[in-house]
């Protein structure tokens, strides 16, 4: 009896520690009052996608996004590049310093909001609008470039980098994003500022070692998880920065230029799967009474794990399951596509169509994190003035508060639905455009996309179901 009580108490403590209501929980604020049931939005989204598919099949007979001319519009001086790098380093140092020296209360310390809201959520939103912002502010890249410049000025130079292994491709980036998602969604100490500071330093050190071995640009393009993550989103932007010149192009036109090296499919499946798990983990199916997480946790407690570890194992299983589910759905679509026409194998098709997953990944990020950005993003107003949570007021904004009326629950829901539909319609467009290149006949190209349409409707319904479950 005593053991059962202890186990129950442990379970309750562990659940309270790691289930909802963490300092930076992503849930909606307020109750929705929608004119139609939420599930009807999934039906409407499916109709929109089918109509988009028919429109593409009839009105888009030639590839339009594969070879697009980019128009240069602006050239910036080298000093701006140096300035952006210096700002990136300063923000990184301030975040780490706040993590070590500041308050242990997550909401009073700059570090958790900087990492989980500004870095993880705001940058993808901004990237869509202004192009690859992170490339300019990337602190570890700026440190590496500065060091290389100093060596070059000193006359020593740096040794020639090793050849980056082709087979490795973007696998390190995929594992990096999976590891970050694990910390964000599974690790019980995810909001602890000093832990975040240690992890940030470890990550930066790993990147510096990688860049010193394989060269700055080669490493950044393939293995730096966050550079790859933000660069993928930047491919959807109408603005493209290259060698200090700003080019303009049609939206989505950068995505077909994605080089599908090994690990790219895994990277995008990790991006979509981890956000999906974030949605799932906030719903009653995962955390409610008699739900999956407590049941799984109890099973691991029964074999001798502590309540906390058991919960982390349960959440890790959920995270990997969602990544696997996304990979499985995409694979199913590709296998189906292979049945159309001749001479294409699954691996080739999987890589040639992987860029169509980029807008879906961004749509999931916008849909799941929009409310977090709108509400918790406001906390930056007081956190920049009081980064340590010690009562200082550097910029005179330490007394600012979060206005939860800035947008209502209905407004958030409509933004989420719009983002999901637009993201999947964009994915459908990219896949259709590529099919016109891959398949010899237009009819074959259209038929091959039946499978992609099913995949897109599946991902849209999954996204809306997850959001709906989290909002209940």
């Amino acid at each position: 009896m005593r053991r059962a009580l202890l186990a129950a108490a442990g379970l309750a403590v562990g659940t309270a520690l790691a289930l909802p209501a963490t300092a930076l929980a992503h849930g909606l604020v307020g109750k929705q009052d929608l004119p139609i049931p939420r599930w009807l939005f999934a039906w409407a989204a499916a109709v929109v996608l089918v109509v988009s598919f028919v429109a593409l099949a009839t009105l888009w007979p030639r590839p339009r996004l594969e070879r697009v001319h980019e128009r240069p519009v602006l050239r910036v001086p080298a000093v701006l590049e140096v300035l952006c790098g210096a700002i990136g380093i300063a923000v990184f140092v301030a975040t780490v310093w706040a993590g070590f020296a500041g308050s242990e209360t997550a909401t009073a310390n700059l570090a958790p909001t900087m990492v989980y809201v500004v870095f993880w959520v705001a940058i993808p939103f901004a990237t869509l609008l202004v192009g690859d912002l992170f490339a300019a502010f990337n602190p570890w890249r700026a440190i590496a470039r500065g060091t290389a410049w100093v060596f070059a000025r000193a006359g020593g130079g740096t040794p020639a980098p090793l050849a980056y292994p082709t087979w490795l491709g973007r696998w390190p980036a995929a594992f990096g994003i999976l590891a970050f998602a694990w910390v964000e969604l599974v690790y019980v100490n995810r909001d602890d500022p000093s832990t975040l500071a240690i992890l940030a330093l470890l990550y930066a050190a790993t990147q510096l070692v990688g860049m010193s071995l394989y060269g700055i640009e080669q490493w950044t393009r393939n293995a730096d998880a966050f550079s790859v993550y933000f660069r993928l989103f930047s491919m959807l932007s109408p603005l493209h920065w290259r060698e200090r010149t700003l080019y303009v192009r049609p939206p989505l036109a950068g995505a077909p230029r994605l080089d599908p090296v090994p690990g790219t499919v895994a990277m995008l499946c990790v991006m979509i799967g981890t956000v999906s798990f974030d949605g799932l983990s906030q719903g009653a199916l995962w955390t409610g009474s008699g739900a999956i997480a407590p049941d799984l946790q109890q099973r691991f407690i029964n074999v001798g794990f502590s309540a906390e570890t058991a919960l982390e194992i349960a959440f890790t299983i959920g995270l990997l399951f969602m990544v696997g589910l996304v990979a499985g759905v995409y694979r199913l679509g590709i296998v189906g596509m292979r049945s159309v026409g001749r001479g294409h194998d699954v691996t080739e098709l999987s890589r040639r169509f992987v860029h169509s997953l980029i807008p879906i990944a961004l749509a999931y990020v916008i849909a799941h994190y929009f409310s977090l950005l709108v509400y918790q993003g406001q906390a930056m107003a007081y956190l920049v003035s009081d980064p340590l949570g010690d009562g200082s007021n550097i910029f005179g904004t330490a007394t600012a508060t979060i206005d939860y009326n800035v947008i209502g629950a209905n407004g958030v829901w409509y933004v989420q639905v719009f983002a999901l539909i637009l993201g999947h319609a964009s994915g459908l467009t990219l896949a259709h455009d590529r099919a016109l290149v891959v398949y010899a006949r237009v009819r074959e190209a259209t038929r091959s996309q039946y499978w992609m349409l099913a995949v897109m409707v599946g991902f849209t319904s999954l996204g809306l179901w997850l959001l709906s479950a989290a909002a209940q």
Binding site: W39, A45, L285, G288, D295, R447, L453, S461, L464, W465
Partner: protein, 45 residues
């Protein structure tokens, strides 16, 4: 003892409403694909 899934029917039955459009689209596309394949075979013959 774990309760059978049917005991929690009220919690998850509405989830099926999200699955329904996916199932309908897949079935319609499957029939359409079969029909077009047959038509192509006839044309090839």
């Amino acid at each position: 003892m774990t309760a059978p899934p049917i005991a929690h029917l009220g919690h998850w039955y509405h989830s099926l409403l999200y699955l329904a459009p996916v199932v309908i689209v897949v079935i319609v596309l499957w029939f359409q694909e079969r029909r077009e394949r047959r038509r192509e075979d006839v044309e090839d013959d």
